[in-house]
């Protein structure tokens, strides 16, 4: 469009089509329309109540006799000064019920311990063993509690005081992300006034383009699409998945513009095919892939077999065909074969505790896979995903730094829905007890809230690093610091230090 001045406007003197010069009035109108249609991506979080609240954090025990004595004593001592007599050693309402401390409300206790310090003779506050027993040693009660809060509020958990845990530690805890002291995007980016992108490309990009003498593209262009967040919703284990759960996965994915990966038979049975749904094609049921031609952007082959892959590609020429691959012995060879076959999306599936081939933690395996693709000059031609082992917001940027484009989530989504998991949580041999009578809308909002919270936490980390988009974080190991390396540097001249976390 080109803008006319007033005199030119008069000369033209008539309504112009879209290819003609515009009057100021028309320009303003079009600009207004475009402004009105503007949409900046964001996730609508809404505080969403508990259906099946976690066990209380603390148990509050009050000795009835001690309390009665105190009340009698204070009533006499402060007779008439009722503000003093009725004051309670809790600002959170633990003793605010009709009979006060005779029937405390432990669900309100935050563990400040003022009551037990003021009255150590008859008030005790203990950690609730039921709360502590949730989950296992990886998906532990602290992580479950955090996910629960994130899914309820949809916000970034903010607390006072400093860090309370171990120095470094195993797995992701042994990795720190870096920050940029001075030269970095403003914190305004985190609050939406400047853009920090969390968009991820799913698919394959050619390393170069070819044109004929007339400038026409003669090579294949990118075969990819984008999603708005660097996480996808992966199918829960077969023991757990249901039609209702599949619909929740799908609608949640549509809500935040990401992908829900679901078994093909459930997708077909419930007519769930959609651009946001990625059906998993079993190797023994390749024909079902043909059913997903309309609207589906991607399918995943459940394991690597080159002939099966070629056949699905042939049956679904307009769909991106990815491959799920376990981080088990022999994965490197399969990765080589997949590169030869130009597989555009490789989706690793790890043990839920992150232990893979040779007992190595997923961090090492991801770094190796990423490096292998780099060495082969193949990295931009493939999207790397991984499911399992990502159960906290801080794992996400760390996994991306190790080479992933995006991560797959399933256990955290179940926790967001307040499911109580049981069985072996490290494998997929576990069950889940969901809240009774929960609704789809409730579950979707809980998942959306969790996604919003994790995305916002991702923005905090990206903001601190001075990285404006998550795609640039992929494989950026220069943006990470490993505790063991730093310890080697700091302590190597100290007697007794041997390194390697020993």
């Amino acid at each position: 469009m080109q803008l006319l001045n007033k005199s030119e406007e008069k000369e033209e003197g008539q309504k112009l089509d879209s290819n003609s010069k515009l009057t100021m009035e028309e320009f303003a109108k079009i600009s207004r329309e475009r402004a009105d249609s503007y949409h900046r991506y964001h996730i609508e979080a809404l505080e969403t109540r508990d259906y099946q609240a976690l066990p209380n954090r603390f148990i509050v025990k009050v000795g009835k006799i001690g309390l009665a004595k105190l009340i009698i004593s204070e009533t006499f001592t402060y007779w008439g000064k009722w503000d003093v007599v009725f004051s309670r050693p809790c600002t959170y309402g633990v003793f605010s019920g009709p009979v006060g401390g005779f029937s405390p409300r432990p669900e309100k206790c935050v563990g400040c311990l003022r009551c037990t310090v003021q009255h150590p003779d008859f008030v005790t506050v203990e950690h609730n063993p039921k709360r502590k027993a949730m989950g296992d040693n990886y998906l532990n009660s602290k992580i479950i509690s955090t996910i629960d809060e994130e899914a309820r509020k949809g916000t970034v958990p903010v607390r006072g005081q400093g860090y309370r845990g171990r120095f470094g530690g195993p797995g992701w805890d042994g990795m720190f992300t870096d920050m940029s002291e001075i030269v970095r995007p403003s914190r305004d980016g985190i609050h939406g006034r400047e853009l920090i992108s969390t968009i991820v490309d799913i698919g394959s990009k050619p390393l170069s383009l070819k044109f004929d003498n007339d400038g026409n593209l003669i090579s294949e262009g990118p075969r990819m699409f984008t999603i708005q967040v660097p996480f996808i919703y992966d199918a829960p284990p077969n023991e757990i998945i249901s039609n209702k759960l599949a619909k929740i996965w799908k609608k949640s994915a549509e809500n935040v513009d990401t992908l829900a990966i679901l078994p093909s038979e459930i997708v077909l049975a419930n007519n769930l095919a959609s651009p946001s749904v990625v059906p998993i094609i079993p190797l023994n049921s390749l024909d079902c892939a043909k059913s997903f031609k309309s609207g589906t952007r991607m399918v995943e082959l459940d394991g690597w077999d080159s002939k099966s892959y070629d056949r699905v590609v042939s049956d679904c020429p307009d769909i991106i065909v990815g491959v799920r691959l376990e981080f088990a012995q022999g994965w490197q060879q399969k990765l080589d074969e997949m590169m030869l076959s130009n597989v555009p999306v490789i989706h690793f599936v790890a043990d839920n505790h992150g232990i893979g081939d040779g007992g190595r933690f997923i961090m090492d395996l991801l770094l190796e896979a990423h490096q292998k693709l780099l060495d082969a000059g193949f990295r931009d031609k493939v999207t790397l995903l991984n499911t399992g082992v990502i159960v906290a917001a801080d794992h996400l940027p760390k996994a991306i730094i190790c080479g992933l484009d995006a991560v797959g989530l399933n256990q955290p989504l179940l926790i967001a829905m307040q499911a109580r998991l049981n069985g072996d949580l490290s494998s997929n041999d576990y069950g889940a007890k969901f809240p009774r009578k929960y609704t789809e809308d409730w579950a979707i909002q809980r998942i959306v809230n969790l996604t919003c919270s994790w995305r916002d936490q991702m923005l905090e980390i990206l903001g601190a690093m001075g990285v404006r988009e998550v795609r640039r974080l992929r494989g950026e190991i220069g943006r990470a610091m490993w505790c063991s390396h730093l310890e080697d540097e700091a302590f190597s001249d100290i007697d007794g230090y041997v390194g390697g976390g020993k």
Partner: protein, 441 residues
Amino acid sequence: MAMSKEPKKPSIDLINKTTHLMHDGMDAIAFGEFEIPPALGDARWTDELILSTWHMAATGKVPENLNYKTGDSNGGFDKLEFKYISEKDWIKNSDEIETGIPLNRRGDERAKLNPPIPIYGGGMSYGSVSVNVMMARAMNAKKWNTYMSTGEGGYPEELYQCKDHVITQVATGYFGVEERSIQAAPIVEFKYAQGAKPGLGGHLLASKAGEEVAKMRGSVPFVSLFSPFPFHSTYSVEDHSKHIDWIQTVNPNALISVKVSTPHDVDMVAVGSYYAGAHIIHLDGGFGGTGAAPEIAKKNIAMPIELAIPKVHKFLIKEGIRDKVTLIASGGIRTGDDIAKAIALGADGVVLGTSDLVAMGCTRCSNCEGGPSGRGCPWGLTTTDIELQEWIQQEWAIKRLDNYYTAIQWRIRDILSKLGLDDVKKLVGRTDLLKYLGGGN
């Protein structure tokens, strides 16, 4: 935030009753008259560390039956131990061991500040804590002839009575920064970053930004305050140098401290800060305290102070400027032992924050940001709630801090004595006096 009733200033009787119960309870538990509360403590601040701090704050002495030296984090300071010399060679009159440090090593015309302990108080803003807490820390600093920082929340009028011991902080939001408070300060501290939330700026939630706090900060009451990050006027060392020029023009006698967090290139940042004119490089490690920070930022961004100190110390030596600048460490320093270890790793001194609060009763429940009540700390520490802030009475709090610093100084001297050193300055960078405890991480 829902509240059952509007808080109001408590009566004298209520203050007396509440504080009496709190203080008696703290002492009784710290002295072992009751069992240790089962829900107290965490890996960094164990139950025994908290109670030993209460014990020291009550008596001025280290406890006999509590571990007052280390936490249970299984790394960093908790894995380091001193290699003491034979007992017969210990320095006998340990009260004569020198614990003072000079803060101005540039050799310029500015103030020659020499606190008698290698410690000063870290920034806690008005808003994150009450005036009572600020005043207690400032009065204690005055008593010890050391310093405490305002944090980024302005300079309450009451503080001027301790102005020679109050560091004025200039942080990225410039909240409450005034010419008068800069001119009053012996040290002006630029806060580039904070260890608990590196790269994220300050954060005061709406419920704590009440009218008095907002007035001090020039903001709208009950609106959350986010300091930007970084300084919007600083994108290079040259810009940073202009900042320092500005302060030095306003107050030609003040020392300049530059507080930074601990990224990978913290050594380069330290050198840049020195050449821009800083007298003090203040490193704030990733385990530092905060009134409010995203949980993801704590520990996951930047490195712990134990790993940053030797990195910076060695680099400053390499650059030939180590003796021209004072290196101060903070962020997770809890005990006298931590202080001595930080110095042995290469710091000249340390800044304390959380341990001051623990001395005044903090149980590290992490509800400083407001908590479910929206009112802040139930102990009256990190709050400006009209009722809760009264639980900290200045006279009591000053005495607690004084006692605590007495015990800390004793412990530093105790360590120096057992190392055969008569001056804390001789401990700087002596990693040969440390040993690392094995056992796996």
